[in-house]
């Protein structure tokens, strides 16, 4: 019995990155805020580069609480969609070429979202990572943390519930 020869690493990597880019670039609001995603294996880190138009308090100055919430929510939705997609791509149920060609899956819908503001967002780049605590057929629960210079000192965290999309028929 012989094992199938693994695909070259560049091929696998290129396909995964292209699938992720297709998913992220399909959402106008993600582009508007300038959020990008950094992938290491199946782990995603959202990156929000600082920009003047993201300021909420010009006196401090600090990032707008709405921007912080948006970063967290975008990270949660993309993180959740990606975790489901990853499994389906790996299982061969979804052809990543279809995604890249623009046939994107429906995204999960936010049911509720609760943000904890721990400290003010400084005028510099912010990062966020989501953890899917439960992903069921209909509902999912996701926790997400955002930090700036120091990973151990989150400036905001959030928990949200999401309605999973019904598969396209």
């Amino acid at each position: 019995m012989s094992r199938r020869r693994p695909e070259p690493v560049q091929v696998v990597k290129q396909r995964r990155d292209a699938a992720l880019q297709a998913l992220v670039q399909g959402v106008p609001y993600v582009q508007f805020l300038g959020i990008t995603f950094d992938r290491r294996g199946d782990e995603l880190t959202a990156v929000l580069p600082f920009h003047e138009r993201l300021i909420g308090n010009p006196m401090l100055p600090a990032i707008h609480g709405g921007v912080t919430a948006a970063l967290l929510e975008v990270t949660a939705v993309i993180g959740l969609a990606w975790s489901v997609l990853w499994d389906e791509i790996e299982a061969g149920a979804i052809d990543p070429e279809q995604l890249i060609a623009g046939r994107l899956p429906r995204l999960p819908k936010t049911i509720d979202f609760t943000v904890d503001y721990l400290r003010s967002g400084l005028p510099r780049d912010a990062y966020a990572r989501a953890q899917v605590n439960r992903s069921g057929r209909r509902y999912a629960s996701v926790h997400v943390e955002a930090w700036q210079d120091n990973r151990a000192r989150a400036f905001a965290q959030a928990t949200g519930h999401f309605l999973m999309p019904t598969p396209r028929g």
């Binding site: 939705v77 819908k109 049911i111 904890d116």
Partner: protein, 139 residues
């Protein structure tokens, strides 16, 4: 300058609020109402043109903060401690969002606020919010 005018000027000086086209329709006495025009850049689902939840959240957060600043017993500014938003339905594509917030309780340290977001169908809210905000006392 009166407080209401101050709150309006303060919020309108916020770069992100301006970027999203947020404007006041009413403010005063612990309450605020705002409006945000529909903008294709804020879309979360390109297939339906529905606004992203994050944009709805930003408008609700701003309106809640304004209501705290407009409260007669709040001596200064404010910052969000925690805010929960329940998304009841998708906002209709092409329609402006309108919000109103009420600061219904205020202690020496904490302001309690609730808010609603609506599109043209004001009978069926798009989202509701519940939050706590800091009360920045006089030092």
């Amino acid at each position: 300058m009166d407080k209401v005018k101050m709150a309006r000027q303060f919020i309108e000086a916020i770069p992100h609020a301006r970027e999203l086209g947020m404007e006041f329709t009413d403010i005063g006495d612990g309450a605020a109402a705002m409006r945000m025009p529909y903008d294709p850049r804020l879309v979360g689902d390109p297939e339906t043109g529905v606004l992203h939840g994050g944009a709805v959240y930003a408008l609700l957060d701003t309106t809640c903060g304004a209501a705290v600043i407009a409260h007669p017993s709040n001596p200064g500014g404010t910052a969000t401690i925690g805010l929960r938003v329940d998304y009841m339905r998708a906002a209709t594509a092409g329609q402006a969002l309108r919000t109103h917030a009420q600061c219904y309780h205020l202690t020496r340290n904490v302001a309690f606020v609730r808010a609603t977001a609506m599109d043209d169908d004001s009978e069926n809210p798009v989202a509701v919010a519940n939050g706590t905000f800091t009360v920045e006392g006089l030092k």
